[in-house]
């Protein structure tokens, strides 16, 4: 155990930061690119997870357990949000018979 953990500390933190930034941008790109609502929801999950990873990495590097607890809470919120989001999607499918996000355009002046 000790060897594994000390090896971890040899990986400098900015690599993890870069990785998470990349994942986050990919998720962001996905949101802007796709019109399918399901894909958009999945990209949101991707973004959340990248942040989770980053916080866990920082928690490991600072030896601070509250980082992991925070990740735990984010997971909770993500789960709840997925549930609600999917039910919204079902409703959308029922109403406009499609999951194209551009069809919901009544929220204007």
């Amino acid at each position: 155990m000790k060897e594994i953990t000390s090896v971890i500390q040899l990986i400098p933190i900015e690599h993890y930061v870069m990785l998470c930034v990349t994942l986050f941008s990919i998720g962001l790109l996905g949101i802007l690119f796709r019109r399918n609502t399901i894909i958009i929801l999945m990209c949101i999950e991707l973004m959340l997870n990248s942040v989770n990873l980053l916080i866990a990495a920082f928690s490991a590097y600072h030896s601070d357990p509250s980082g992991q607890v925070f990740v735990f809470f984010i997971m909770i919120v993500a789960a709840a949000e997925v549930a609600v989001g999917l039910s919204l999607l079902v409703m959308m499918k029922r109403n406009v018979d499609s999951v194209d996000i551009n069809l919901l355009n009544r929220l204007k002046w």
Partner: protein, 156 residues
């Protein structure tokens, strides 16, 4: 992980996207274990891959969304989106460039990933958020059930 992320974004069929996302999550679980966050890794696998992705798959299959029949966005929009996303990436990279100088705060313990440690912190410092999150769950459940009901909403 990055490649599976790219697959999530750019694949044509939603099922493919779901599968790539699952792959991404499993990779992430591996990273958690590398970071000595064992509890998190297991929870991640159970909650995310096991529950949330399954939910996605259910919905896709129930509503038969597998057909990639949706027209893509216009070129202008895609270029604009690409530019925005790319800019964001660049800016974040620039923002986080100076992370070389981070030094660890506490003395190193190898115990922080253990369930007991996480549990101790959870129930000592973060007790209130823990309890409040149960309220959050209840509201999410009620919301989901309410939205899912069929009660004669007229079609748009």
């Amino acid at each position: 992980m990055v490649i599976s992320g790219l697959f999530v974004v750019f694949s044509r069929s939603p099922i493919n996207s779901v599968l790539s996302l699952i792959m991404c999550f499993i990779a992430m679980a591996g990273h958690y274990i590398l970071l000595n966050a064992q509890f998190l890794a297991v929870v991640h696998l159970i909650v995310y891959t096991g529950a949330i992705m399954v939910l996605f798959l259910f919905v896709i299959m129930l509503l038969n969304l597998n057909k990639a029949t949706i027209p893509q966005k216009t070129s202008v929009t895609r270029i604009a989106a690409a530019v925005a996303g790319g800019l964001f990436f660049l800016v974040m990279v620039a923002a986080t460039r100076h992370t070389l100088e981070i030094t660890p705060r506490y003395p190193f313990t190898s115990k922080i990933g253990l369930v007991s440690e996480v549990g101790k912190t959870l129930f000592h410092e973060f007790l209130l958020p823990f309890e409040v999150s149960s309220v959050l769950f209840i509201s999410a459940m009620i919301g989901a059930v309410m939205f899912g009901k069929k009660d004669g909403i007229t079609k748009m």
